[in-house]
Symmetry: C2
Subunit: 306 residues, 2 copies
């Protein structure tokens, strides 16, 4: 259990580092440097997972001084079933030990008891010694399609533990329009209506930190820059977790409207452009390429609000 | 890889058993019979998981002759992190070995490469020997809020392997209304619009089996009985996976409109009313109580279409 509110911890770390950025850890085995994979048996999940862990460990060490936060993609680990899940939780621990705030990108969503189980398993710190009392991430991503009551177990758990929750509101993929851009009779889009729900839920007593932001945040794709200002207005207290720059096509500058004018209220996430920076910088060790990309990201974001 | 289309396999099994029913396996440790939990160390996740597995093994054996299908709730296993995930996949194997069609209730949803990872990890059969070449379930549940492109990796994977996908369209919880019941400017609700998307995606070449039903199904809560007829009309080729009877308040008769008039096209799911039947039948062994509840469910559903 943390003494400090999630939004305040995140806010403080962003100030210390100098920019509200997050490095996305989405490790795909086939894209790891050859030297990391050397000697792996092709049919061994354990070898693959070990290589992923080695690489991610290097990445975490390289970016920790330059990013307040990492977002770890659960799918990349779950690909390797239980061996992957164990590595995922080890990675969370390593990241937290480096002082990073960790978002588990698990995109879970269910109802009733099942939602409580996900909240305990994916967000909570494990009470079991034979699970190494594995600490959960500081926050997770969740899917809001199942409505407000499906989010409550996550919020209850987060509030109790000083953790956070980021609900998917407007995703960065083109196909998200098929549901999120639908126009309602009342005038708003579906995404805007979900935003109103998230804002209201996040305003509950005890959910808003001293910094004025809630423990309930929202995922807003950087590729939807024309909608950001409106969503920002609908969710004034909500931290925007903003993926989609770099490989997905958006530029850092596209995310300006996701932030409050003082540079707070959003967390810009870059994944592949940092994680695989070594692919475009063959003249240096991969750790250096990753570190330089994280520094460049931080400098770009902090320059927006200077 | 299966030779036969998922919808045809499911349809055949339902005919053999005599009713389109599914037993939901949502095991919560605290609700297991005392005799199953005897001797467990309270702080041991491994003990808890072993007890859950013992209980579920008994349930699977009790219901296999009387239900074509089981739906296994991933959250109940993920609660115990990697130990739980290993047990989840062992349980899938045991259920498949008993001839049951297995739906993994994982409610995953993500975009791009992450969706592909979930498709491989949660739906696929593992290619790795050190993961025991764990077979995945015959189908999984997914969340459609991220739109059509987020579903494609799951559908591609399912089509290739003779497996299925059930997209959440109208969930059984009261709070689902907050998003799914929103009225669009064009007249439909959000759930109805998602239904149209699911119908179109499920009609792709190769996706519809000989039985006329698609490998892309829909989750439709039994508690929304007034909407079932309209959703049935919007998704004529779609198998409805219908949870919400029993503990959640709906009656078997409430689900009639989810089926085609001949009793095909839907799969009625009961979870707690079967899984914990022993709580109300203390005069017999728990296996018998569970078996009797599964038989009663089958009889009730087959009686609707006699």
């Amino acid at each position: 259990m943390n003494e400090t509110h999630f939004a305040d911890r995140l806010s403080d770390r962003c100030k210390e580092v100098g920019a509200a950025v997050c490095v996305g850890i989405d490790p795909v085995y086939e894209r790891l440097p050859d030297e990391v994979r050397a000697g792996d048996r092709p049919d061994s999940a354990a070898d693959r997972v070990a290589s992923i862990q080695r690489y991610v460990r290097g990445v975490l060490n390289a970016v920790a001084p330059h990013a307040p936060c990492v977002k770890i993609q659960s799918a990349c680990f779950e690909r390797y079933l239980w061996l992957g899940v164990e590595a995922y939780f080890q990675t969370i621990r390593e990241a937290r030990d480096l002082g990073l705030i960790v978002i588990g990108d698990a995109k879970r969503g269910d109802i009733g008891v099942s939602a409580s189980h996900y909240a305990a398993g994916c967000l909570g710190d494990s009470p079991f010694g034979d699970l190494n009392n594995a600490p959960g991430p500081d926050a997770i991503t969740v899917n809001a399609y199942l409505g407000d009551d499906s989010l409550r177990p996550f919020l209850d758990h987060a509030a109790e533990m000083g953790k956070g929750v980021f609900a998917l509101v407007r995703t960065s993929n083109p196909g998200g329009d098929a549901v999120q851009s639908l126009r309602l009779a009342e005038g708003r889009t579906v995404a805007e209506s979900v935003a109103v729900m998230i804002d209201a839920m996040g305003a509950q007593p005890g959910y808003v930190g001293k910094c004025g932001l809630s423990l309930l945040g929202a995922v807003i794709g950087a590729t939807k820059k024309d909608e950001a200002a409106q969503l920002r207005q609908l969710m004034p207290r909500t931290i925007f977790l903003v993926p989609g720059i770099g490989a997905q096509g958006a530029a850092v500058e596209d995310t300006r409207a996701c932030f409050h004018p003082d540079g707070t209220g959003a967390l810009l996430t870059a994944s592949r452009s940092v994680l695989y920076a070594y692919e475009h910088a063959t003249d240096m060790p991969w750790e250096s390429a990753v570190r330089d990309a994280a520094i460049a990201l931080k400098d770009q974001v902090s320059a927006m609000f200077r």
